[in-house]
Every structure is written in C-alpha cells, then in structure tokens.
Amino acid sequence: MQLTGAQALIKSLEQAGVDVMFGYPGGAILPTYDALLDSSIRHVLVRHEQGGGHMAEGFALATGKPGVLMITSGPGATNAITPIADAYLDSVPLVVITGQVSTSVMGTDAFQEAPIIGITAGIVKHSYLVQSADEIPRVVAAAFYIATTGRPGPVLIDFPKNVSLETMEWYWPSSVEELDLPGYQPEVALDMDAVAAAAELINQAERPILYVGGGTIKSDASKELMAFAERTGMPVVTTLQARGAFPDSHEQHLGMPGMHGTYTAVTAIQQSDLLISLGARFDDRVTGKVSTFAPHAKIIHVDIDPVEFNKIKKVNVAIQSNVATALSALDKTGTKPKNLEVWWKQLNAWREEFPLFYEAQEEGSPLRPQMVIEAINKSSKPGTIVSTDVGQHQMYASQFWKFEEPRTWLSSGGAGTMGFGLPAAMGAKVGAPDTTVWAIVGDGGVVMTIQELLAASAAGINIKVCILNNEFLGMVYQWQQLVYDGRLSHVALPSPDFVKIAEGMHCVGIKATTEAEMHAAIKQANEINDRPVVIDFRTDARENVWPMVHAGASNDDIIVHPSQRGN
C-alpha cells in the first residue's frame, strides 16, 4: 500500500494506539492535518501550543497513556517548549510532532523555521528529524516505545513538509528489534543480591520511612506499596509527585515531606535510621540542605534510572528497577522491622502536636484558601481529579485535599510551571470523561493559559476551575514577606473580572466572596455538567503556607504555623 508521508504519520499514530491528540495546525504541518481528516483519531483544537502541551501531559498523567501533541514549525514549535521541559522534569510520557520547513530550505531562515531539535535537545528523552517518508512508521513506533518505557519522558518528532508529501510503501514494525535502538535498554534484570541487602537493612531498622516518589505512580505500584507497607507496618510519606500513591486516610501515612510538607513527615525523615526511596529523586524541595538531610539514615534507593543513584545522596543499596517489581521482590523476602512501637509512639506524638492547621474563617474576612479546598473536596466524589499550577494554591491543595487514589493529582513539580493547571485538567478530562476534574489554580497562573477555556467550551471539555484569587502572586509575596524584609516587588495582581472572562469564553462564571457564597458556588458548579465552570474565590492575601523550610535551610529548622510556635 502506497501512502504519503502525512498519511503514514497519521496511520502510524493509529497503530501506536492513539485515539486522542491535542494540536494546532499551521503551514508546515498542513499536509498532515489534511490526512488527519480521514482518521478516527479525536483531535482537540487548542488555542496555544503551550496549553496543548499541558493538555497532553494532563491526559498522560491521568490515564497512564502517552499524550500526543501535533503543532506546526517555528513559533508553533517554540510555544511548546515549556510543556516539553515540564514533561521532562516530571517524567511524563509525551510524543510531540512538530512540522518543519522542507529539508531543502532547512538552515536558510525560511518562513516559520526554528531548529527545534537543537532547541529542545536538553529537555527531551530523545528526538527524531524524519528525513525520508520510509522512516515514518519506525520513527513513530520508536518514539512511543521510548516515551513510555524505562523512565518515561517527552520524545519529539520533527517532520519536514516535503517528507510529508513523499510517498512510501506502508509497513508497521512488528517487534522492538525493528525499531533500531541498539543503545536503549529501558529495564535490566532485578539484582537479587541488592534486594537481599535491602531486606537485611529493613530487618535491622528501628526508625524506617517509606519515601514514596512519582515513580511509584508511573509504575502503577500502589497495590504493591499498600501490601508492603501494611505487612511491614512502616510509615509512609508521599512527595508532591506521589500524592495519591498511598491513601491520605491510611493510618500509616504521615503526609508530604519537603519545604511545605507536614511537620511529622519532614521530622520523621530527619530522625529516621532507614530511608527507603521508591521512585523519588531527592529533589531539593524535599531535602532542604542536603548535608543535613536525614543524617542518621541508611538509604535504600529504588529507581528505574540508575543516574539517580548517588546523584544527591550516597546510597547504601541501589535497586535498579521499576517500583512495582522491586516492591514485589522485597515483599517476597518477608523482610520486616522487628519492632516499630517506639517509633510509632514518637510519630503519633508529632502528629498530635503539629497537625496541618489554619485559623477558622472570620466573619467579614476574605475566604481562607485552605477552607475552599476542603469544601470542594468534601463535595466531591471519590476519584475526583485535581490539577494545579505552582505556588501557594498548589501547596494548600496538596496539604488539604485528601488523596485516596493514584492519578488523581496532577501538578507541575520539577519545572514548577505557572499555567499548567487549567490545560492539564482539560487533558485529564479528555482521558477520563466520566470523572469530575477540578483545576485548582491561583489568579497569577491561570491567566497564563486562560485562553484554553475557549478550547474547553468549544470541545465540550467540562472541567471545573477553582481560582484562589488573592490578587497577589502569593508564593512570591510570601517569600518577600519572610525573606526580603517585606519589600514587595511586583507581586500585586489587580484582578480581572474572571466571571466576564469565563462568560466571554462560553463557560459559566461565578464569584464567591463569603463562606455562604462559597458553598453555593461549589454546589452550583457540581450541578453543571454541560459546560466548563469557573469560580473566582476571593481569598485572603494575609494567609501563608505553613509549615515551611526556607530554601537551602536544614529540615531541622522547619517553621510551623504561627499558632503552633512558642511554648
């Protein structure tokens, strides 16, 4: 069967299992958009390529399947750099297809030309420049294989216009061997000596912690984690990328570690004698000052990417594996700490003394953002998906939403991208149409990709958007108060009329200023399922995120909520 390059690309996407993609057409990718008309693949027309990239990420994070973005050359491609970088840092499987000018004019500053392979070299897992139509099926199959295996990540396919117009004889690679990847070995055999050594350390431990990272969700290891944690009785902390990997309601869950983690999670790591890292990477937001991080702990590090071993902390036992496989193997050894009674007594005392806390709502004051999140959480069904940007609202959401299931929390962790939350929620909703999806965002970040509300209403992607609007760039405001002696530099954000913006984009817009309006707005939002809903919650700018470990400070110097200090 003879196909054009464009037809071959679309057929290859179908063969790779793609049933939905996000994108925006333009000159160099026109032939491929023409071929798309004859395909069963659903295409969501985004309004900006950055939004499209975050949608593809949200889709991938919620479903576990790779997200696909197709855009044109030049500015189309460069607009997608932020989501590509975001996906790289958070190990999100993404396949990005960029149109490119024809090979005969590449390098001549042709119209809408950008050297996107070079520009993205440091933020992709791999990239391909397709040089002839014959390569297309092999390149597409390899791109999906690379994006989804081993440590997942973004793969870019740069697709010159003339190649999309060539013809080729159709084929589809029938095995991994045909992908021509002699340098790629995503998984290695489990090192049973390392597993035995880890089991021995666990047997000896008196103050162990299961330090659960994003790799636990990426490898769908929640079931294995539950079995192992319950059998061994060890306490669990879940990082920002792992919220939902272990139920917040579980007695053994101490919460999130790190800069704005719970006092108990942070302090337990500091006091631990064994840290069992499961697909986590000792990010600086978790470790604080590395030299004083978990100073008494031996470390078992399970990771699929061996470069993570000893990158930040020297480890005692490294297990190169996906988390699910490693946990099953560890569990089979029957390893178990002898007695954790003293440890749990201490942990429970900390939990009792320093729970997450905020002051009750005061009559006549703007809304407490934490209260808004708890109210939405209480009104939502189990399994509701939450996405966020980066900042105070993100920390409140992570702290006060109770996550019970994996893939219900989508947040920009490594990159910390403002503008991620709204489009990521849309991507999740496309992947899980029967699930309620809330974007919880700040008034700063939401305007960075707010144009996607138009894409949402046009495509019937009926998400709910909670804007915690304190008319400030909240987290920067917090740092300027605490670290820069209250010198406020460019953090005031006079609010637009979010209700009018929502309505102008054919969504429902609601404003909530009082506690009663808050409850009414949430109720109304939950009753609307045929349109996107945006709620502008007017929140209290005086509120700050606690606990807090200052950047570069030791986790021992964690600062709790003002009402919990002193004594």
């Binding site: 392979i117 070079g118 440091g122 420049l129 002699p182 340098g183 990417d305 061996p306 000893n310």
Partner: protein, 177 residues
Amino acid sequence: MNSHEIIEEVIHTPVRLHILSVKVENKPGVLMRIAGLFTRRGFNIYSLSVAPSELGARFSRVTIVVDAESAPLEQIVGQLNKLINVVEISDLSPKDAVERELLIATVPTHVDVRTPLLDIIATANAAIIDVDSSAVTIMLAGTPSACDDLERELEAFANVELYRTGRVALPRLGTPA
C-alpha cells in the same frame, strides 16, 4: 589559564583525566547531544575526537577526554548512557590505555631558524609533510606527552600555526577489561 598552563597542569596531575571511548550510532545530532549534556552539567571536556571505526558505517567512536574532577565520573558515564544514540561506553584510565594524537604545525623558515627547526624535527621523530620557499608543515603522531613536548619546543619560533587532534585510545593489551 592559557593552553600552556593547562598542559602543564595536566602533565603534573595525570590522574585527573579519564578517557571515555564511546560507541555511538552514526546519526545526525549525536555530537550535539553529547556536547549539550556536558554543557548542561558544566562538565569539562579536555579533548574530543569523532571518527568512524571498525564498527562499520552504522556506528562511530567518540573519544572524550574528561577532567574527572569537574564532575563525578559516575554521573558523566550515567548521563551519557541515557542518550538513546549511545550504545556503549568504556572508561579508560590513562594508565590502562594506549593513547595517540596527531599534531601538525606550519613553521615559517627564514634562514636563521632552519637548523634549530630541523634538530627539533629529528629529535621529536616528527616528519615534514609540506614545504615551500617560506615555511614547512610538520607532523607528529605520538603520545599526548610527546605532542606536548613538541608544542613546547615550537614556542621558540614566531608565527607558528599549530593544531592537535585530541586523543584516541584503546585499552592497553593485557589489561583486564
């Protein structure tokens, strides 16, 4: 630091250098990916050479001499290994490797320098590969330190144009792999 000082330092602290012999797929952009990785992490490349090898048209060999104190070697090797086009990496310590590099230099030959120049060429076992009425071009294929010696000798001459290729290396025979 000028090149002479760098060479001096290297000669006096040879253990700092590691030779990575990297088998890569012969595809466009491979060198960009390797160079980009070094740039991103601030790893210092001392010399680099890329050429086809016995591996056939599909693969090339990149010989990278790195300053192992600029970053942990484990990280360098690990990051390189993550590049999809990198197939295999051998890490050779200089004492376990035979290394060669090529030096070529064009030296102006007015009358009063011809004799000392010929002496240097003879002593260094270098060869004359091109000549005209005003200059000669010489070459030396030798160990990095022999090339260092010749380069230093040539500093006595004015207006020398000199290039070195960077090292290529293979494991010393009889060394456990």
